[in-house]
Structures are given as structure tokens and as C-alpha cells.
């Protein structure tokens, strides 16, 4: 588990989502990256039903990542998070009276996984209730866990196939009290995905009337 950066790639003018994904794939293959299977990340949203007086109700997101196939992550909106094993899903069913699953808000991201030396690149399509919303690109630099040490390298690498649409340093890294030199873990990755999903959810897709 190295340092990851998740970003959104805008859909090219006059192209469909799938075509844009293909373009990224082609660029990666030209670079020399090798395809290594596929990946998926999903996110389910839960509304808390019980009213805790004096506290604004926070949404709970339960996420899975194919990179950590046995784990299940529960993230509160802007709050604490937990990592559990796959039984957590079953537990959430039991907690129906406290957390209600918002089925319509389920977000998924699927795509293929590329390896380029020490970099792991995942290009995925974000779909929300079976409509494609956008393209995500995750770049992971495996040998290092300290973002401050490898961010510039990662950024340079991303420029080589994403061109100008390279993001700034992900806010998860900067927001940590220890700063850039705290080791990153899988929660950082999932937080970035969650931010991306929330961003895409709010964005109104042209031609779609799904909220």
C-alpha cells in the first residue's frame, strides 16, 4: 500500500465516457504500462434514523475496494472512519433501525488496472444507478507511504498521460496534523474516492434527470 492520488478526468469534448476512457488506456499503453486485471470501488450511503438531540445527523458511507478484498470501510461524513472485515455489511443490515440504506445513492467505480514499474494506475468509470457519471483515475506509487516524499514524482508521472488536468495535492494529505509526512493508508484512498463521488453526485450530468 503506497501513496495514492485519485482524480477526475474530464470527458473529452464530443466523446462519450467510454471513448474518453479508451483514450486514457491507449495513452497508458503507449507509455509502457501493462494491464493487470480490473478493479472496483463501491460506496453505499446510510441515513441515520435515530435522532440524537443536539447533534446534526451525519451520513455514513460504507465502501469496498477490490484492492483490499476482505475489508469493508465505514466512513462518517467528515468524521471518524473504521476498517472492518466483510461481516460489517451484515451488521449494517441488523442496524436497520438506526441506519437506513439509501439504495438510490449507491455509487460504483469499475475499470481496469495498469502497472507501470512502481506505479499502479486504475482508470475507472463512475456509475450511479446505472448511468455513467465520470472518469476516475487513481495513481498509486507503491514503494513509498509518505506523501511528502513522492508527491512530485507522482505528479510528474500523472502529467505524462493526463496532460494539464493534473490535480493539486489531495486535501487528505495536507489536512493531517502531522502534515505531508504522515504515512498514508487505505483510508486516505477511500476518502479521496468519497470526495470524488460526492462531487460527481452533485454535478448534474447533461441529458440525465437522475438527481
Amino acid at each position: 500500500m503506497g501513496v495514492t492520488c485519485v482524480c477526475q478526468v474530464p470527458v473529452a469534448e464530443g466523446k462519450s465516457v467510454q471513448q474518453s476512457v479508451d483514450i486514457v488506456h491507449k495513452k497508458l499503453e503507449q507509455l509502457g504500462a501493462v494491464k493487470q486485471g480490473s478493479f472496483w470501488v463501491d460506496c453505499e450511503t446510510y441515513h441515520p434514523t435515530g435522532n440524537v438531540s443536539g447533534q446534526p445527523s451525519k451520513l455514513l458511507y460504507v465502501m469496498h475496494n477490490s484492492e483490499t478484498p476482505l475489508s469493508c470501510m465505514g466512513l462518517f461524513e467528515g468524521g471518524p472512519c473504521l476498517i472492518a472485515d466483510a461481516n460489517f455489511d451484515v451488521l449494517m443490515v441488523k442496524l436497520k433501525s438506526h441506519f437506513q440504506n439509501a439504495k438510490a445513492h449507491k455509487v460504483e467505480c469499475r475499470g481496469s488496472r495498469y502497472r507501470y514499474c512502481d506505479f499502479l494506475i486504475k482508470v475507472g468509470t463512475v456509475t450511479m444507478s446505472s448511468s455513467a457519471r465520470g472518469i476516475s483515475v487513481e495513481v498509486e506509487y507503491c514503494p513509498c507511504v509518505v506523501p511528502g516524499e513522492c508527491w512530485n514524482l507522482t505528479k510528474e508521472f500523472m502529467q505524462s498521460f493526463l496532460g494539464p488536468s493534473v490535480p493539486e495535492l489531495p486535501s487528505v494529505f495536507a489536512a493531517k496534523p502531522e502534515g505531508l509526512f504522515a504515512p498514508s493508508d487505505c483510508v486516505d484512498t477511500m476518502t479521496q474516492y468519497l470526495e470524488l463521488f460526492n462531487k460527481l453526485r452533485k454535478m448534474q450530468m447533461p441529458g440525465s434527470n437522475v438527481r
Partner: protein, 643 residues
């Protein structure tokens, strides 16, 4: 009138010192050993006081016994009768009375003197028992009677004692069996089935899956004669182990060079190492441990042969009788055999096959045992309780994979399960590769004196990887010629060579590759050494190349070359060194020194005479010096003009 004196005065010492008696209960009071004063008394006793004419002496002596008194008196009487015929009838009475009076007076005086305790002290004179011989017959009879009763008492007591001792012994035997059983129980699993006590020596409770039941029976050792003395190593408890676990067994792992025909593969030699028995351990314990060892060996072998049949490899593993044969490298054979010797036959077997060299790979044998136990532990821990109610069944680390967010690589690491045979083959490969590398380096080092090779082996190794640092130096120039330092990481299939500058070369397991590589490195070292030497000597390096493209082609590696110029630029030395062609040294002289150079019309100007002229080869073998760098130093020194 011949009787004793009318008045008997007897003075007795305290009797305790002389009295020697046998009490009725058999205790005897002995005369204590003579002290100084007693000794004195004894000496005094030897003096025959009765013979002295002076009767006072007798009195001073202290205590005449009754018998002595009697004797003395009779003697005295006899004397009077013989020599002094009685004058009147009361003469003897008078004499006696007078002597008694005299004696009494003396006695009185003595007593008064003694009472003062100033000048004299009384000491008893013990009586020699031999002297005591008055009524011998009577004494004998009474003594006999007394002894008879005493003997009867003693016999009665002895009978009682022997009876109780026998009873005790029987009791103790019973108790010993129970205590032995208790001790056995504290170390081995026992259970009672009917009227038998059965034990379990299998490793099943430790996680073994081997189907052998491994049951032994505890029996009471009763074939011992009660009357005879029990032997030293007698144990009332004995164990009966299954017949197929008897004897001793071990796993033998060895690597052989040539593979014999499969036809004459047979049971390998079964010479047995003598079991060392620790002092103080019970027989049954030794027996059970041996049986358990046999069981473990059998389990290991069964597991290995099962894997040997299941695993598909390029060269199939062969399982013949008690031997598994595998080919880790071409022309090399790893054999793992189970040697099980039972009882008495071993002696005949051992002698003819002993001359074989002991080619055990003890490390691998030990590792096999260790891996088997690890396997047991793994089996055990996968089902071990306590277990979180919500967690899936499986290995503990697998259970943690979810909450610890293990990624794919880590999980697949957890899941991959290499068999025992695969592991041991990998280890054997590594061990073989390591020893072959060591041999290659050593043979090169002993064959080639210039430059020298030093190998520093690391002490701590992984089972699959070890490393050695190889330094190539020239004798006497270790400080300046340190250019070639190689780190050889010896793995399972290949050797990775890391140069000092970080270049990595991967060599296969072939011996020749490493040898060629080292040879080319050694040839490069010489050229590097010239370069270093030039720096020290103040010469100038004109050109340097590790791999020259000119000249004869080397069969291994490339030749390397260096050209250095003297400080004033007049001379130049060119060295070309190849792993196979050896070194060639050329010296270029200044044009001015060469006479045979034809005068050219073009270069007339005297300044051209400073140019260097033709080169001449140096007969390197005729140069003085113990090694290449030394020769080079001499050459450089010779070509450097004196200031």
C-alpha cells in the same frame, strides 16, 4: 583361719568405666577407649603389688580387689606358716590384727591426705579381666545361660523385623508403581480402557493429521523375584509400544553428484546412531520418546512422498521404497530417505555399509522436523479457540486481513501454501548453490595469486538466501586498489552480483558463469589498479576503457585497457589486459630518443621532437617484481626522470 580377713575394707571406684554388660534388650555398654589417665591406670595395674614386702604401697595404690586381697592374704599366711613357726596359739590372730591395724592406720593417713586433694589424688586401677578367673565354670555356665536367653530374644526380634520388612517392600512396590504412573501421567496422555491403561504418543493433539493411532499400553512389571535383590535399574512400570514404532528412526537428506540407475536404488544404509540416554530418566520415558520420534519421522516421510507424487515438476520426483529422489539441478540428486532400524538386526547391517562417507545434510534434516512442527502448529491454530463469534473461520492472520485492510499481495502471501517437499528442495538448492559458490571462489583464490580474492561470508543467513562479499586486491596495494568490491547474493536458483557502483548482474546456477565473471573482474582489476597507481605516482591517465573493442577477441568477457603518461609527458605506458590473453604492456618513447626514426621532410621543426614516438612492448614476464602492480610501479619509477 585360712579364710579371708575378718574385716573387709574395699574401696571401689565408680564402676561405670570397667563394667561391660549386655542388657536384656541387646544394648551393649562398652568400655570407653582409654584416656591418658586410664592408660596410666592400666600401666599401674601391671605392677604386682602383692609381691612388694611393703604393705603400705598396696594401700597407696588405692583399691585392691577382693580377689587380690584374698590372694595376698593367703600368701601372707603361708609365709608366716613357713618361715615363722608360731610361738603361741593367738600369734597369727595378733599378727593379722596388727597388720590390719597398720594397714588401717596407713589407710586413714592416706584417706586424710587424699581428702585434702592437695598432694595426692586417687585413681582407679582397672582389673585385667584375664586375671579374674575365680569360679570359671560357674561363670561360663551363667554366661551361657544369659547368652541363650539373649539370643532367643534377638531371634524373636529378627523374625518380627524380617516379616515387617517384607511387608514394607511389597507395599513400596505397589506405591512405586503408582508414583511412576503419576509421573508418566504428568508427561504423557493416558486413559483407562477396561482394565488396561492406554497412552497416546501421537502428535495428534499438537495438530498432526497423520492417521497412525500411536497408542501404547502401560503394564505393571511383575516378573521380579521377591527374594532376590532388585536390580539397580528396576522399574515397576513398563510400557508396550506398537511394534512398528519400535527401534529408532531418522530422516536422512543428502545431495549426490551422479545419479545411480533406478534399478539398484534400494534401502539405504540403516546404521543406527546410538541413542544417548540421559542419566536420571526413566526407561519408559526413553522408550516412549524414541517411539514418538519414529512416528514423527514416518509422518514427515509420508507427507513428503505424498507431495512428491502430487506435485508436477519438470523432472518428476521418484519415490522408491524408503527414498525420495529429486533433481534440483541437472546432474544433481537430492535424496531424502527414512531410516528405520528395529532392534537387533542393526549390528549385522551396520558394518558392511559403514565405509560410505557421511553425507548427511543435518541442517535440512533439522529443518524438515521444524517445518513439520510448524505445519502442526498451523493446523492447530486454524481451529483454535477462543475465536470471535462474528469472525470467519480460518487462520488468525487471515482473520485479521479484513480489519487490517490487507491488500491483494499480502493476502496472496498469506494464502500461498508451499508444501514441505517444495520448501526442502528450495533449501537444498540454496545450500548446494552456496557451497558451490564457496568452492568456486576458493579454487580461484588458490589458483590465482595475482590479484588476490578475498571472500567474506555473512554469518547469518536466511534459509533461501545468503550473501558473500568478494574483494579483489593486489598484495601490498590493498589501500589504493579497492576498485572491485562485489556483493554476491546467493539465492535459490541464481546469484545476484551487486557492484560497488550499484550495477546488478544476475548469474545462473552454472558454476562456469560465476568463474568467468570473476575472471573478467580480476582482469579489470589490474587495469583499475594501474589507473589508481598512476594517480599516486603523479602520472596522467590519457585513456581508460573497461571494454576495448580492438585486438583479439576474448572468449570470456572483454579486455580492458588504460594509457597513462609520465608527469613530464615524455613517456606513455599502455596496458591491455584480457581475462584470457593476459596483459600486454607497451611503452611509448619520446621521438627524440629514438634513433632509427626516419627523418621526415614534413616535420622539420625541433618542437616536433617532443612528440612521442613509436611504442615498444615490455617483456612483462621478465620484469622484476612480485606482482603486476609492483612491476608497474617499478616501470613507472624507471620512466620518471629524476628531478
Amino acid at each position: 583361719m585360712s579364710g579371708g580377713p575378718a574385716v573387709r575394707v574395699s574401696i571401689e571406684s565408680t564402676c561405670e568405666k570397667q563394667v561391660q554388660e549386655v542388657a536384656l534388650d541387646g544394648t551393649e555398654t562398652y568400655v570407653p577407649p582409654l584416656s591418658m589417665s586410664q592408660n596410666l591406670a592400666k600401666l599401674a595395674q601391671r605392677i604386682d603389688f602383692s609381691q612388694g614386702s611393703d604393705s603400705e604401697e598396696d594401700e597407696v595404690e588405692g583399691e585392691p580387689r577382693d580377689s587380690e586381697w584374698n590372694k595376698q592374704e593367703t600368701e601372707e599366711e603361708e609365709g608366716t606358716v613357713k618361715f615363722q613357726p608360731s610361738l603361741w596359739p593367738w600369734d597369727s590372730v595378733r599378727n593379722n590384727l596388727r597388720s590390719a591395724l597398720t594397714e588401717m592406720c596407713v589407710l586413714h593417713d592416706v584417706l586424710s591426705v587424699v581428702k585434702e586433694k592437695k598432694y595426692m589424688a586417687l585413681d582407679p586401677v582397672s582389673q585385667d579381666p584375664a586375671a579374674n578367673k575365680t569360679p570359671q565354670v560357674f561363670q561360663l555356665i551363667s554366661k551361657k545361660k544369659l547368652l541363650g536367653t539373649a539370643a532367643q530374644l534377638l531371634l524373636k526380634g529378627a523374625e518380627k523385623l524380617s516379616k515387617s520388612v517384607a511387608e514394607n517392600q511389597e507395599n513400596r512396590r505397589q506405591r512405586d508403581f503408582n508414583s511412576e504412573l503419576l509421573r508418566l501421567r504428568s508427561q504423557w496422555k493416558l486413559r483407562k480402557v477396561g482394565d488396561k491403561i492406554l497412552g497416546d504418543l501421537s502428535y495428534r493433539s499438537a495438530g498432526s493429521l497423520f492417521p497412525h493411532h500411536g497408542t501404547f499400553e502401560v503394564i505393571k512389571n511383575t516378573d521380579i523375584d521377591l527374594d532376590k535383590k532388585t536390580p539397580e535399574d528396576y522399574c515397576p512400570l513398563d510400557v508396550q509400544i506398537p511394534s512398528d514404532l519400535e527401534g529408532s528412526a531418522y530422516i536422512k537428506v543428502s545431495i549426490q553428484k551422479q545419479s545411480p540407475d533406478i534399478g539398484d536404488l534400494g534401502t539405504v544404509s540403516l546404521f543406527r546412531r546410538l541413542p544417548k540416554t540421559k542419566a536420571g530418566t526413566q526407561q519408559w520415558h526413553v522408550k516412549l520418546e524414541a517411539a514418538q520420534n519414529v512416528l514423527l519421522c514416518k509422518e514427515i516421510f509420508a507427507q513428503l512422498s505424498r507431495e512428491a507424487v502430487q506435485i508436477k515438476s519438470q523432472i518428476p520426483h521418484i519415490v522408491v521404497k524408503n527414498q525420495i529422489i529429486s533433481q534440483p539441478f541437472p546432474g544433481l540428486q537430492l535424496s531424502i530417505s527414512l531410516c528405520h532400524s528395529t532392534g537387533e538386526k542393526k549390528n549385522h547391517r551396520a558394518s558392511p555399509e559403514k565405509p560410505k562417507p557421511d553425507d548427511h545434510l543435518y541442517v535440512l534434516e533439522h529443518n524438515l522436523h521444524q517445518m513439520m512442527r510448524e505445519f502442526h502448529k498451523q493446523q492447530l491454530s486454524s481451529v483454535v479457540m477462543p475465536h470471535p463469534a462474528s469472525a470467519p473461520f480460518g487462520h488468525k492472520r487471515m482473520r485479521l486481513a479484513g480489519p487490517m485492510a490487507y491488500d491483494k499481495a499480502e493476502i496472496s502471501n498469506l494464502q500461498q501454501n508451499e508444501g514441505l517437499l517444495e520448501k526442502i528442495i528450495k533449501q537444498a538448492k540454496h545450500i548446494f548453490l552456496r557451497s558451490r559458490t564457496a568452492r568456486t571462489i576458493d579454487s580461484l583464490a588458490s589458483r590465482i595469486e595475482d590479484p588476490q580474492i578475498q571472500a567474506h561470508w555473512s554469518n547469518i543467513n536466511d534459509v533461501y538466501e545468503s550473501s558473500v562479499k568478494v574483494l579483489i586486491t593486489s598484495q601490498g596495494y590493498e589501500q589504493i586498489c579497492k576498485s572491485i568490491q562485489l556483493q554476491l547474493n546467493i539465492g535459490v536458483e541464481q546469484i545476484r552480483v551487486v557492484h560497488r557502483d550499484g550495477r546488478v548482474v544476475t548469474l545462473s546456477h552454472q558454476e562456469q558463469e560465476l568463474q568467468d565473471f570473476l575472471l573478467s573482474q580480476m582482469s579489470q582489476h589490474q587495469v583499475h589498479a594501474v589507473q589508481q597507481l598512476a594517480k599516486v605516482m603523479g602520472w596522467q591517465v590519457l585513456s581508460f576503457s573497461n571494454h576495448v573493442g580492438l585486438g583479439p577477441v576474448e572468449s570470456i568477457g572483454n579486455a580492458s585497457a588504460v594509457t597513462v603518461a609520465s608527469p613530464n609527458g615524455e613517456y606513455a605506458i599502455s596496458v591491455r589486459n584480457g581475462p584470457e590473453s593476459g596483459c600486454k604492456v607497451l611503452v611509448q618513447f619520446p621521438r627524440s630518443q629514438t634513433k632509427e626514426l626516419p627523418k621526415s621532410d614534413v616535420i622539420q621543426d625541433p618542437k616536433w621532437s617532443h612528440l612521442r614516438g613509436p611504442s615498444k612492448e615490455v617483456h612483462w614476464s621478465k620484469m622484476e617484481g612480485r606482482n603486476f602492480v609492483y612491476k608497474m610501479e617499478l616501470l613507472m619509477a624507471a620512466l620518471t626522470p629524476c628531478p
